[in-house]
């Protein structure tokens, strides 16, 4: 067993892991954060997307040890003090969630995009979420929700709510 220390959703966490553990299993099974989903388990579907040091990554392909000393954000880290993140709010309002299995991955891909580029074009949104498969929505509502979140986010920033 190795001690793995990372900043997880803003808090320092240390957890004992096997050298062969993958990050998604540590998050779900050792830390109880089951918001991150396992879809294909081979890097094809994006359901396991989390953010590591500001970049969207696939936690099903990532040896947990790679997170040592890094900053990891999962879907559980999106809301603050009971207030939903603008992306979560917009996904609900725009009907971008149906079965919900892809949603956490899509939220994390979208968050990584907006954190880096607060005003992305539609093409940039599409490129950022191209690695997240959704079999329900047809994607239009998801892209609309991300666009709506851009506005919501800037309103909140203006009024210092967020």
């Amino acid at each position: 067993m190795y001690p793995l220390t990372m900043t997880l959703n803003g808090e320092s966490v240390t957890v004992e892991v096997e050298p062969s553990d993958l990050l998604v299993d540590v998050l779900r099974d050792k830390l109880g954060l089951t918001g991150t989903k396992i879809g294909c388990n081979e890097g094809e579907c994006g359901a396991c997307t989390v953010i590591m040091d500001g970049q969207a990554v696939l936690s099903c392909l990532l040896p947990a040890m790679k997170a040592h000393g890094r900053e990891v954000v999962t879907v559980e880290g999106l809301s603050h003090d009971g207030e939903l993140h603008p992306l979560q709010q917009a996904f609900i309002e725009r009907g971008a969630v149906q079965c919900g299995y892809c949603t956490s991955g899509l939220l994390m891909s979208a968050k990584a995009l907006l954190d880096e580029n607060p005003r992305p074009s539609i093409e940039e949104i599409e490129e950022a979420i191209a690695g997240n498969l959704c079999r329900c929505t047809g994607y239009f509502q998801i892209v609309e929700a991300i666009e709506a979140a851009i506005e919501l986010r800037s309103e909140r920033l203006d009024t210092a709510h967020f």
Partner: protein, 290 residues
């Protein structure tokens, strides 16, 4: 499954870790291919030596007209680098086409080449750029031509249980040179290619004829493939639709694509070769003419 996971802080330390484990340890970079291969039992290792925290291996520099890329440069980094976009466009385009953003964020060019797939986007672009790779092993470091590293589908001549690919280098493209990547897949993102064509052209002084051209195709052979006969047909040839279409025809004849149940038949791929070679040449010429 691997029982040890190590972070060396230098190339030398990584090589020592490998040597001490006598073939039972293996290097890992981004891991986007290797982790699946290990999980599915296609490759094995008792220990993974993670090279992504070795400083200096993630740099992109221009030295005396040569672009030098550390092996840990990710696809994302290469796709977004102004130097690569301007002076090695084909590589930027290849790196932007590969996988999804999540995979481009961690997958490295070193890993792409050592994984040795015949239609690897990065490998084909580097091949068209006539890149060399630096290999570090117990007794020193040597530069070898990229094409010498591919032994077969998924089989590299770089033995990642004993040695390490540390960098790539190639001539930055200059005036009268242009490059482009053409790719067809079943989806526009996150799909293995039906065919990829990487092209680098050099025009003559009045930009009316080809001085030379380099064309890499995949998957049309067990390894990333340079179309030497098509390239020869373009040497000194006037730039025109007919010349480029003929090059496509020759490239098709010297290629040996296979049928894939998942992606495309041999016959379809042969037609696509002709089209992508012509398109690649047209776009590379446009870039070269500025």
């Amino acid at each position: 499954m691997w029982q040890e996971y190590l972070f060396p802080s230098s190339v030398e330390e990584a090589l020592t870790m490998l040597a001490e484990r006598e073939g039972r340890a293996r290097l890992v970079a981004g891991g986007t291919d290797l982790i699946i291969q290990l999980t599915e039992g296609q490759r094995s290792a008792n220990c993974l030596v993670d090279i992504t925290r070795i400083p200096e291996l993630d740099k992109i520099t221009l030295e005396d007209g040569m672009i030098v890329l550390g092996a840990n440069v990710t696809h994302r980094q290469a796709a977004e680098s102004p130097l690569i976009r301007e002076r090695a466009t084909v590589l930027a385009e290849a790196c932007r086409a590969m996988g999804s953003l999540q995979i481009r964020n961690v997958g490295t060019l070193g890993g792409n080449v050592v994984n040795a797939m015949p239609a690897a986007d990065g490998s084909l672009a580097l091949l068209a750029l006539e890149a060399e790779a630096e290999i570090a092993h117990g007794t020193g470091r040597v530069w070898v031509p990229l094409q010498d590293l591919f032994a077969g589908p998924g089989v590299s001549r770089v033995d990642s249980t004993r040695e390490m690919l540390t960098a790539f280098r190639f001539q930055a493209l200059s005036e009268r040179q242009g490059s482009a990547l053409e790719r067809i897949a079943r989806r526009r993102a996150l799909a293995l290619p039906i065919l990829i064509c990487a092209v680098v052209v050099t025009l003559n002084e009045d930009s009316q004829a080809f001085d030379s051209a380099r064309i890499a195709l995949g998957p049309v052979a067990p390894v990333p493939f340079r179309t030497s006969q098509a390239e020869e047909s373009l040497r000194g040839a006037p730039i025109g639709r007919e010349t480029m279409a003929r090059a496509g025809e020759i490239a098709m004849q010297e290629s040996q694509p296979r049928s894939s149940l998942l992606r495309a038949s041999k016959e379809y791929r042969e037609e696509v070769i002709k089209v992508l070679v012509r398109r690649g040449l047209e776009r590379a010429v446009q870039v070269a003419r500025g």
